[in-house]
Amino acid sequence: MALLGPVAATAAHALDSDGGHAIVNAGDVTVGILAPRGEAHTLAQWQATLDALGDAIPRITLTARAMTLDGIAAAVAQGEVDFVLTNPGQFVLLGTPYALSWLATLRSNPANSARAALGSVLWVRAESPYRRAEQLTGRRIVAVHERAFGGYLLMRPELQAAGVDSDEIAVDFLGYPVDALVYQLRDGQAEAAIMPVCMLEQMVSEGLVRRDDFRALATDEPLGGCVSSTPAYPDWTFAALPHVSEALTGDVARRLLAMDGEDTARWGAPVSAARVATLFDDLALHLLGEPLSTRLMDALQRYWHYSVAALVLLAMALMYHAWLQRKARRHGRALEATQLALRERERELADAQSLNVSGELATTLAHELNQPLAAIRHYAEGSVLRLQREAPDSPLLEPLSRIGHEADRGAGIIDQARQWIRRDAPAPERLPLHGLLDHVRALAQPRLKRLDVALDRSIQPDNLAVLGNRLAMEQVLGNLIGNSLDAFEAADRCGWIHIDARRAADPGQVTLTIRDNAGGFSPERLARPFMPLDTTRAQGMGLGLVITRRLLQRQGGDISVGNHARGGAEITVRIPSAEASQ
């Protein structure tokens, strides 16, 4: 059986559909019908319905044309048909751009509702070893068309959900008729076939194949006695093109709904295709279902002169930009580089800080949630232990131990989320304190100036260096100076910050003491300086010190906070020295 070619394409410069057609109210009327089983089968299937329609509306002569998916799309675009009868997938794709009106939804199986009549099935041979879709990875699968609604389109999300990546399976699209797929599968040329629901059962009832030769990898509700591997979607739709008169459209709709379903098809009121539209959104299909690349090429060809103009403009803009750049570079290359580096570093610090904040929040949350989970697990297992002694055949033993397992599972989820957010710290390096403090001062300079705070330092010996991660250490010092400046700002006073660096009593460690005269910590804060989620600042999350401590501990250092006698904070940081051979 030959495949249907698309409707003979008219010349490339044909008029648009809204340009060429008179309003159709009588005369020759063409219905384009989707033909999944080939032309002969389709025409035979619909003949009675179309005859009944033609008899009921004497002023028209009906002609049916069996078509492929691409054929219908082209015919609708060119306005070469007056009505279409097609699956809801294609209706959604064509309906909006071509303003189709929806007359009736097919009730192909009285046992089904019209809302749930279409689906796809993944068939394999009965004797084949496949039990699950993912076993088909790398095997030859056949389907009709990548945009066949009751076929590949519906199956794709199911395959993805089963963990089969669409890149990993080789699907061959053979086109209509569907029968060819079944024969290929039966004869071992393919390992699986994606088919519209009920199609194989119908071939069985026609005596073409044996039901026992096939097995469906069915995962869903059966549809009216047929197996289905996907959720159900609405049935086929009878729709009119916009150039058909309202009178004729109304007549056709009324006649369709009045059919008794004896030897004609049975019809119901049009069913919403919202679910179809949602599915398409998920699949990110384009309006006419063409791949984006094709549409881009189309647009480029159609608007090539604009494209060229845009390119020329772009080139000019680039040249102008380059010229400006050169001029700017000639003016202040050194200044710009410094500025850029500073901004870059500032951004990195901000990134690191925000990552740390989310990491710290996740850690806090994980801990807080872990506490009740731990309690749940302890109670459950404590109860199991007691029951095993006192009532070893109690039916409560099973659910109680499950409670314990579930608590554990919850903890596992939390832990995964936490690990995902955490980043691994890079290896430590030697950081001379002079350079480090210069850099931190440069970053804080604008605020120091604005708040009129003097930052000075003493480093003993002069070449003292610590061993740590540069970004983390900058962040630690930046946070501490930032906290101090926050305190100055809150107290609305100017003053000084002094940083003193020296070898610690403990060899292999350096002590940094940071003092200010901004008033110091409140007694409440000093009682719990490192408890997260409480803050003395209106903004901020009170995580600054927590993060600072965490960063230091990860580098083998530590921090303690207090006040000194002259009305200010005194923070002591210990960090491994780069001097002693570690």
């Binding site: 506490q371 309690a375 749940i376 697990r377 302890h378 404590g382 314990g404 719990r528």
Partner: protein, 198 residues
């Protein structure tokens, strides 16, 4: 030696501590619980061998610092670190500091039991070693010498020859040493002494 030891539970979360006590008592253990590191360090009898379930996150001095102080106090305690956030670095660090085990909340009963068994064993071993050291400290120089020879497996005659003293004198010393060290016989004394020298 094998009477059950107590478990110190140091956790600031009353709900978790209550639940944990319920579980441990279900395992037939005696639990003493503490709400903070300071309370535990101030209130617990650190000379008694016991197991400690130590939560890392505590207000005031945190789990790390508590662990540090226990080490400094040379207490015979098998310490198990509990944490609600399985921080690998922290685990490695606490194991280096001599923790028996490191458990991530929520801890299952079986893991808890296994860890506690090791903790008790560690505490008993430590207490035993300490007792032997204390007893050995009561020996005179000569008695110590005799004990060393005994542990080398020498007979009374051999020892007498080596020390140039009478066999009878060796016998007297030897029974004194066995008695002082709380050993049943010379063989047990030899075993105790070897453990002390190890």
């Amino acid at each position: 030696m094998s009477e059950t030891l107590a478990v110190h539970l140091v956790d600031d979360d009353a709900g978790v501590a209550e639940a944990c006590r319920y579980l441990l008592e279900g395992l037939g253990l005696a639990v003493i619980d503490w709400r903070s590191g300071e309370d535990f360090l101030a209130g617990a009898n650190l000379d008694e061998p016991a197991a400690v379930l130590l939560d890392m996150r505590l207000p005031g001095i945190d789990g790390r610092a508590v662990h540090e102080r226990l080490r400094a106090a040379d207490a015979c305690l098998g310490v198990i670190i509990l944490t609600g956030h399985g921080d690998i670095d922290m685990a490695v660090e606490s194991m280096k500091r001599g923790a028996v085990d490191f458990l991530q909340k929520p801890v299952g009963a079986r893991a808890m039991e296994r860890a506690l068994d090791s903790a008790f064993a560690r505490a008993r071993q430590c207490a035993g070693d300490r007792r032997i050291r204390d007893l050995a400290a009561t020996l005179s120089e000569r008695e110590r010498e005799i004990a060393r020879w005994v542990s080398e497996g020498l007979t009374n005659r051999g020892i007498a020859e080596a020390l140039h003293i009478a066999v009878r004198t060796v016998e007297v010393h030897r029974s004194r040493v066995v008695e002082k060290m709380g050993a049943a016989n010379s063989a047990e004394l030899a075993a105790l002494w070897q453990r002390l020298e190890a």
